[in-house]
Symmetry: C2
Subunit: 253 residues, 2 copies
DNA sequence: ATCCCGTTCCGTACGATGTACCGTACACAG
DNA sequence: CTGTGTACGGTACATCGTACGGAACGGGAT
């Protein structure tokens, strides 16, 4: 899968599927909800690559093709998975906006929650988020995350832009973290170990004098957070700069 | 492919492959370079999903398994593709740092070049950038992009953090754009058309009063750049905030 | 000239995958 | 009790990456 996103074809079908109640069960007790939750369980535990229709069906004790009675295809299934995961983000719509402190603390809260979300469900990062899935939980998420930006001196468009900026930052940084985790898991080496193994081969072939700044900075960064990159630090550093920039925009009025 | 990234196994092998000269050709004239360039051509034109070992071999007029004489597997091939693409970024290492204007203009130049890169090679966004591929061109890129940040009052670690922040922003925003492009291409509908088709089904099921802020802001944003999101605007807006934040960091010393 | 051996090429085959197609068997309305 | 719509799922197909092992070649040693 990965880069796929045909958008299914019929938008109305997808909308109905996302917003429907999914309670009707046939004689084998199969439900859309059960399918989605099983799929999330597999993806959480073994990654998106391990998620196949056969595996889902097997785990549900059901024939593979029975899934297609409830779900049009795998793409729509992943759409449902994403919207379901969004549902776990906030207890209620006012969670971010009722955060103590101003909009800045609220946005830090939003960033932290999204960061945690991608930690729990790394597979979300692998699903190309094409034209955002407009499910009920995604809509609630958007509403919840927008509210703290109300009435602080931003236009509607700026509110949307600021939120997009923050979420893009979190997602991108989470992607870096997820990649590091995956390499670590698949090679059995920590990042530090990996560099120790690669360094000799690299030094033999790479003339450090051609990259004076890069090698100095790379060295410094590597030592500071043992491992070439520290996603947690990147998250905080970046968010601080972004929020400073937004504050400057507001103050400049 | 998509979410894969086994890191191949032997790091030394990958390093040698990336930094090697790739000039030795066998009796059929097959080269690593030719394989990589053909692969890039396919991915550029038809997307990463259309890239298969069979297609590459076919286009080269060669048996599929012959590729494996020169390249260990598909994952390593994509590593080579990425480093090759990086090679097209700057004419020389000093391109960004010799930009007229200060570090700010230089970083805008860097952002614009990366933005263009992802426009030309959208498949790069689909390849999970695990433990960054340390090829020769990637190293040059890092050096080139770091140089404009020299001597402006940032520590080594901050230099790295700032660059990471900017590149993450560009990549994330490019990902949004690529997704929109792909939906547009696969459905044959422009984004505006898509929303027009989906809106009726959505309105029937979604109670706008539950999402007061979201629907107001979404409406405003949608009208401003006809289409729910305007990646180009998001790029500029975000970059401006980020650079303001960095400027504040420097000024605060 | 002959042989040998290392390398390059590639045909075949295997185990995956998503899902189209179509028969079966059940639950419920009449 | 019977008729019919829906849920279920077995089989099959195209596609993928690539393991395996044989064929074909080029160049060095005899």
């Amino acid at each position: 899968m990965d880069g796929k996103r045909s958008s299914g074809g019929d938008p109305a079908r997808s909308v109905a599927l996302l917003w429907g109640s999914h309670t009707k069960a046939g004689r084998s007790g199969l439900t859309v909800r059960a399918i989605v939750e099983t799929a999330i369980g597999i993806a959480d535990a073994e990654g998106l690559d391990a998620l196949s229709m056969r595996r889902v069906a097997e785990r549900l004790g059901v024939g593979t093709m029975s899934l297609y009675t409830h779900v049009p295809g795998k793409i729509e299934l992943t759409d449902l998975m994403i919207d379901t995961a969004y549902g776990q983000l906030y207890d209620d719509v006012d969670a971010p906006s009722s955060q103590p402190g101003g909009w800045r603390e609220a946005m830090e809260f939003v960033a932290a929650r999204n960061w945690d979300l991608y930690l729990r469900h790394p597979w979300m990062l692998q699903i190309v988020t094409a034209r955002p899935v407009v499910g009920p939980n995604a809509s609630l998420k958007y509403e919840a995350e927008l509210r703290p930006l109300e009435g602080i001196g931003l236009s509607d468009i700026e509110m949307d832009s600021v939120l997009t900026l923050i979420l893009t930052h979190v997602e991108g940084t989470a992607r870096i973290r997820a990649s590091l985790d995956q390499v670590q898991q698949s090679t059995g080496m920590s990042e530090t170990e990996w560099w120790l193994v690669s360094a000799p081969a690299l030094e033999k072939v790479m003339d450090a004098s051609r990259f004076p700044v890069a090698s100095r900075v790379g060295q410094a960064a590597g030592q500071a957070h043992n491992g070439a990159t520290d996603p947690a630090h990147a998250l905080d550093f970046g968010l601080a700069r972004i929020l400073d920039g937004v504050a400057a925009l507001i103050a400049g009025r």
